[in-house]
């Protein structure tokens, strides 16, 4: 088993890892898969839904695609140019952008929703399978980074379930 050390870059990951560390190093980072951006529709934020081969043995294709599609929908909602965004833009301009002292932009609200969604997905689906999704905002909206963990000591299910219980204990 390769004893590869993960890089401490993500809050989420650090959390999971903090819990995993408490489990006496029962899992370690084996690999990272990067889901790249899909630019076929322009510069709007959209990720490729192509299923990476490294995840084939770890997670069902449909679950993965659902996650990516939901994320894409969230980003499309954040960047949508329509009535509400125009209103917000004009109001902001009229108040010399001071309005943002009091309220969040729509984009920021959606980003919060995304963070919650990713956390929930990690807890329910990915951590039990030894995977961890990093929020794309932490990677400059370039990639969805999925870390693959290998079990080192005891069985996979124990570390998986303990990590889930660890996260739900928050």
């Amino acid at each position: 088993m390769q004893g590869l050390v993960p890089t401490a870059t993500d809050g989420n990951m650090a959390t999971e890892f903090h819990n995993l560390q408490e489990l006496r190093h029962s899992a370690s980072l084996a690999n990272k898969v990067f889901i790249q951006r899909d630019y076929t529709e322009g510069t709007t934020c959209k990720f490729q839904t192509k299923f990476p081969s490294e995840l084939e043995s770890r997670i069902e294709r449909t679950l993965f695609e659902d996650t990516v599609k939901t994320l894409n929908n969230y980003y499309a909602e954040a960047e949508k140019i329509g009535g509400q965004s125009y209103l917000e833009g004009c109001l902001a301009c009229a108040t010399a952008y001071l309005i943002f002292l009091c309220m969040e932009t729509r984009y920021e609200k959606v980003l919060k929703k995304i963070a919650k969604y990713i956390q929930e997905q990690n807890e329910k689906i990915y951590a039990p399978r030894g995977l961890l999704i990093t929020d794309p905002i932490e990677r400059g909206m370039r990639v969805i980074e999925i870390s693959i963990y290998e079990d080192r000591g005891s069985s996979g299910s124990s570390s998986g379930s303990s990590s889930v219980s660890g996260s739900t204990a928050r």
Binding site: T9, G11, T40, I81, C93
Partner: protein, 518 residues
């Protein structure tokens, strides 16, 4: 300054978003171990003020000139011309002038102080993954990889994405690397020295509002100063009028010269906004019909109104660089068994050393050789096996003649293999050419262009930069000059799997020893 604060407060809020999703345990842990904020270790050439809330380019002299010009001219207007005009005509004039002035100042500060849309550099894992993909795509057949581009089809139009060697990413469409700030900026328009910052996706609307309102302000002041002088000269005669308010003369002169450039610039940017192009694209003629019959702008929404609304009233994306967040320390909180801890520490420091060396655009043979020696020393310690790069990198070597690991061979070993195998060395003219190309890139970093368009100048040089050293087998010293950024990263990637490739390890060390002794 309100606007800078509002932006900063938003950013403050934003940075809290990422930590809120994690456990409460984690936050005190972070603060305990590292007190550094991310802006302090930002790799680009930006200046930060107010604890990272304000972000500007390195050279800000011209920005202060802009500020002084605006403040002095408006100050003179309000002091000398407004009292007369308010009495003779209407007090609305100073009010409108005041509103315009505040708007101009606000948008200027907002443009100058905000993050233009800087793309953060790739994490080591990302960069390694990309390198792997590029190798696979090229078939790893030799030490001459073609220029790194990726083609995507956007709304029916083929667009080439270029690989940025500094930031180690494939630039998203419309992004460009600003050589003055040393950052990749999303939807890069241009680097504006007047504003002291790049103009990109996040501050383009503020920039446009600034130049638009400044044109109105300039025309306003010009018109009313002329009116003032005329009214006075009706009473006292022209020369006396000039004597009574000398400030007006200065204002007229400043406004007269500004009007042409600023109104022209506003008109130009109005055109760009309505056709949804960046200054870059317009200068290069990327979407001009002269390039081909089927050439069209894939980003345009179709009609002028939608383009304008999208550019000015569309959603404002958040800053991607999280300036005020705390740096995640490298301590082995995530560690494996004890021997791993020291390795991890070593590799992290090595990585950071590598990256800090890469980010300094110094083409210095000695430094390159020193870094090689450093890596050799690190390689000599038998503990280096802690990165997530795959062994694929090394096993690709046999095609290269088997003496050196594949990836290292691509940028370093290629020319190195030429040495032990006794291949002929290239003519002496090429080393100077390549070094010159690489160093040619560097002066661009320091120069301030009157043209304000660093991008077109940087692109052709960048092309040369990675073509020349890799096309021609060359002495390692020159190659170091040519790809200081390429080699150290790949070397570290190569080293981290040495434990599993002992014979290759020995060969690589031998090869590199030869390299460093040159």
């Amino acid at each position: 300054m309100h606007l800078g604060v509002s932006e900063s407060m938003r950013e403050c809020e934003y940075s809290q978003i990422s930590t809120r999703s994690s456990t409460p345990m984690e936050t005190p842990y972070k603060k305990k171990t590292s007190k550094k904020r991310k802006w302090e270790i930002f790799p680009g050439r930006n200046k930060f003020y107010c604890g990272g809330r304000i972000m500007m380019a390195k050279q800000t002299g011209v920005f202060y000139l802009t500020l002084v010009l605006i403040l002095v001219t408006c100050g003179l207007f309000f002091t000398f011309d407004c009292p007369f005009l308010a009495l003779q005509l209407t007090p609305v004039i100073p009010v409108i002038g005041g509103v315009l002035f505040l708007f101009v100042l606000g948008t200027l500060l907002r443009t100058s102080f905000s993050d233009p849309g800087v793309l953060p550099r790739a994490t080591p894992d990302e960069a390694a993954d990309l390198e792997r993909q590029i190798d696979v795509a090229n078939g790893s057949t030799g030490y001459r990889p073609p220029p790194r581009t990726k083609e995507v089809v956007i709304n029916g139009q083929t667009v080439k994405l270029k690989y940025c060697f500094t930031c180690k990413i494939f630039r998203p469409p419309r992004a460009s690397h600003c050589s003055l700030c040393d950052n990749c900026v999303d939807r890069f328009d241009h680097h504006c020295p007047w504003v002291g910052n790049c103009v990109g996706k996040r501050n383009y609307r503020f920039f446009y509002m600034f130049i638009l309102s400044l044109s109105f302000l300039t025309i306003f002041i010009f018109a009313f100063v002329i009116t003032h002088i005329i009214l006075r000269s009706h009473r006292n005669g022209f020369l006396n009028a000039l004597k009574d308010s000398p400030a007006s003369v200065l204002e007229v002169v400043v406004c007269f010269f500004s009007v042409w450039s600023i109104v022209g610039l506003s008109g130009f940017h109005t055109y760009l906004i309505s056709s949804n192009q960046t200054t870059n694209e317009d200068i290069k003629g990327s979407w001009s019909s002269k390039r081909g019959k089927d050439n069209y702008n894939p980003y345009s929404h179709g009609n002028i109104f939608t383009n304008c609304c999208a550019a000015l009233c569309g959603p404002l994306p958040p800053s991607l660089i999280d300036r005020r967040g705390f740096v995640q320390s490298d301590t082995p909180q995530l560690a494996p068994p004890t021997n791993g801890i020291t390795m991890y520490g070593a590799t992290q420091s090595q990585q950071s050393h590598m990256f800090s060396m890469e980010s300094k655009p110094i083409c210095d043979q000695d430094q390159c050789i020193q870094s090689t020696k450093f890596v050799l020393q690190a390689a000599a310690t038998p503990l280096l096996q802690q990165q997530s790069s795959e062994p694929v990198i090394l096993t690709a070597s046999p095609e290269n003649g088997g003496t050196l690991p594949g990836r290292s061979a691509l940028t370093l070993g290629g020319p190195c293999t030429s040495l032990p195998l006794g291949q002929p060395t290239p003519p002496t003219s090429t080393p100077s050419l390549s070094c010159h190309e690489a160093t040619d890139m560097l002066p661009i970093h320091g120069h301030s262009h009157t043209h304000n368009h660093s991008h077109p100048l940087q692109e052709p040089v960048a092309h040369h930069h990675f073509l020349t050293p890799e096309e021609v087998p060359s002495p390692p010293g020159m190659l170091h000059c040519g790809s200081p950024m390429g080699h150290s990263h790949t070397m570290q990637a190569g080293f981290y799997n040495l434990a599993s490739q002992d014979s290759l390890h020995e060969d690589s060390v031998r090869g590199l020893v030869k390299l460093s002794s040159v």
